[in-house]
């Protein structure tokens, strides 16, 4: 006790002089902290710039050779002399598989999240939550092998013939679900992608659903709302931005997924109307051909990589714009 008293008087005696110095030290620390964190943030931009630059340099021979026709050419003939390369097939495959995957994964992912936070009995919460996390932990090559040996044959032998028959004679849908059934197809790749992105949507949705203040929900229940009405009118509007963020993260994953897709998409550079026919994606094409490529062929593959970069960038920008509009609306 006595010691403390002595110390505190000592501090007071040191008074104004020390105070200025201490403040100065704080300020220096603050500045250092500011610049350190700023350097970290800026390094991301530098790395990103470096990646874009090296992609452009690597892709330059192909850009010079093919120009804009690269985007609209469907042929991919690296063995031709000179090679004819076009990105239309891989771009089509990337978009189609990602869109189908999201159409399947968004309702299921949100469904799981709503069940987990609003309806699930306590004892079931942990097993389901754990299962979802495990889905995210499985390496993509395992998904690919499972798709190749289990899902592909199952779809081709049982599901696809049924779907082909069901849509026979219906305009447009008839073309989309045209046969013959195939183990390796755009549709099977989309299904695998849907399973792979599910944990992203679910985990983030669960986290943001938990941020809804209980008082809001209680008030809604208090005026006689059903669980469905509470979810639709309170939980979802309150967490919209977070949920969309999760969906965008999932979409980014779906656009870039490589290994699993390479296993089950069939790797054909063709565009047919049917989702049961083999196709390819940008990343699958690069993964398949890069090791054995050289010259213009390799440059074309790097250009494909650059396109994927731009495509992902465009998708994320669109998502940002959409979020901004939503926030504005909510503000009004």
């Amino acid at each position: 006790m006595a010691d403390m008293a002595v110390q505190s008087t000592g501090m007071e005696a040191a008074g104004p002089y020390d105070r200025a110095r201490a403040l100065g030290a704080f300020k220096a620390g603050d500045t250092a902290f500011y610049w350190t964190t700023r350097a970290c943030a800026i390094s991301v931009l530098l790395i990103l710039g470096g990646i874009i630059l090296s992609l452009i340099v690597g892709a330059w021979p192909a850009i010079r050779e093919f120009g804009f026709s690269f985007l609209f050419t469907q042929r991919w003939a690296p063995a031709n002399d000179p090679p004819i390369l076009g990105a239309l097939g891989p771009i089509y495959g990337t978009l189609v598989t990602s869109i189908i995957a999201m159409v399947i994964a968004i309702p299921i992912g949100l469904g799981i999240a709503i069940f987990l936070t609003e309806l699930c009995p306590n004892w079931l919460r942990r097993p389901i939550g754990l299962a979802v996390e495990l889905l995210a932990g499985i390496p993509s090559i395992i998904y690919g092998m499972w798709g190749f040996f289990v899902l592909g044959p199952f779809m081709a032998n049982y599901m696809q013939p049924y779907m082909i028959r069901a849509f026979e004679g219906v305009p447009v849908l008839e073309t989309i679900f045209a046969g013959p059934p195939s183990y390796l197809s755009l549709f099977n790749a989309s299904l695998i992608l849907a399973i792979m992105v599910l944990p992203f949507i679910t985990a983030i949705s669960v986290d943001v659903f938990k941020t809804v203040p209980p008082v809001l929900k209680e008030a809604a229940y208090g005026v006689g709302c059903t669980t469905w009405e509470v979810v639709r009118s309170v939980v979802i509007p309150y967490t919209r931005v977070g949920v969309i963020g999760g969906i965008m993260l999932a979409l980014g994953r779906a656009l870039g997924e490589t290994m699993a897709v390479t296993f089950i998409i069939g790797n054909a550079f063709r565009i047919t109307g049917s989702i049961f026919s083999p196709g390819t994606t940008i990343s699958a094409a690069i993964a398949s051909e890069f090791a054995e490529s050289d010259g213009l062929h390799q440059s074309g593959l790097i250009l494909l990589g650059l396109l994927l970069f731009i495509l992902t960038f465009l998708v994320l920008t669109a998502a940002r714009l959409m979020l901004m509009r939503l926030e504005k609306k909510a503000g009004n």
Partner: protein, 336 residues
């Protein structure tokens, strides 16, 4: 203290021997990987010297040897003589293999079916769409062929197997040559692509009414239904070691500059038409002469003692006359 010293010393010795043992490094083709690793194992047991071979694909192997990051590169598609001169490389065939067509067709057993080159090309061009096509029926009068569509399976990754297969199709079908051509990756008109020999084997094994092409070893190990082929002499032959060796023996290695020779569609009544050698690439003036000499010692040993091991893995050893010629090349070209 002494105890600690001896542990450190032992560690240093272990580190230095293991570093020495990994002196020979090679990279490239995936096709010869099983036999190279078997040879390396036996060689290490005999001499204590190890070999580190990375099967990263022929194209990548060529890049690595040009960049001088490995002692030797390995490729299934040989480099042309002018390319070899430009990079200062020596090239020779190390071991051979064969490519066989495989099918999955109900009621058809291994060896029962026969194709000829033009028919095979038309199937891969998408011109022949069903199994009961007259062209297939004419070659296989005894088989009951279904009316089902043919599922064509091919490689999706660039590969030496594809290089040799498309080279064969280009030689036997003018249509294939103008429409598709040859290469490690080509513009496939039809079919689904699977990754690696194992991918094609797995796919054909699973898919009814499918056809594919794989290295003979994969067809045998996966118990796939392989088919015979009509060779350049017009005789139907079965994929056997004897037929592969006949093709190799009939090849004219002596006249091939830089051993640039693709073994498809070779003459001879008993020759299997899609046989392929896999090649080794080394610098004529290596930067690390000791490692280079060590690698040559290994290759010499493999030629002398590795034949049986290669045959056990369904590879075909190089004929003795070719080996003699290769050893001459070594002493003339590679400085050590």
């Amino acid at each position: 203290m002494n105890f600690i010293k001896s542990i450190v010393a032992a560690g240093l010795v272990a580190a230095s021997t293991s570093a020495f043992a990994a002196d020979i490094t090679g990279a490239g083709a995936t096709f010869p990987f099983p036999v190279y690793s078997k040879w390396a194992d036996a060689y290490k047991k005999e001499t204590g010297n190890g070999l580190n071979y990375q099967s990263i694909g022929s194209g990548a192997g060529i890049k690595q040897i040009i960049a001088k990051t490995v002692t030797f590169g390995a490729t299934d598609a040989p480099l042309k003589p002018e390319q070899l001169d430009k990079e200062g490389l020596a090239q020779w065939p190390m071991v051979m293999g064969a490519i066989v067509p495989v099918v999955n067709l109900e009621g058809v057993k291994p060896g029962e079916m026969v194709f000829d080159g033009p028919t095979l090309a038309d199937i891969y061009l998408g011109k022949i769409k069903t199994w009961n096509d007259p062209a297939i029926a004419k070659l296989n009068p005894k088989l009951k062929l279904p009316t089902d569509a043919i599922t064509v399976v091919r490689r999706s990754d660039g590969s030496g197997t594809t290089f040799n297969f498309t080279d064969y199709l280009s030689k036997v079908s003018a249509d294939w040559k103008t429409k598709v051509g040859m290469g490690t990756a080509v513009e496939w008109p039809v079919g689904v692509g699977a990754k690696g020999n194992e991918g094609v084997a797995g796919n054909v094994g699973q898919t009814k009414n499918s056809i594919g092409y794989v290295e003979y070893a994969y067809a045998k190990q996966n118990k796939l239904t392989y088919a015979g082929l009509v060779n350049s002499a017009g005789k139907a032959v079965q994929p056997t070691i004897a037929a592969f060796q006949a093709a190799a023996a009939n090849a004219d290695w002596a006249k091939a500059k830089g051993y640039y020779l693709i073994l498809t569609n070779q003459p001879g009544e008993t020759s299997w038409p899609i046989t392929a050698a896999t090649f080794i690439l080394m610098h004529k003036e290596p930067t690390d002469k000791a490692a280079s000499a060590e690698a040559l010692k290994f290759f010499k040993w493999a030629f002398e003692k590795g034949d049986k091991m290669a045959e056990e893995l369904d590879y075909i050893p190089m004929p003795a006359s070719v080996v003699k010629q290769i050893e001459k090349t070594w002493s003339a070209d590679i400085k050590s």
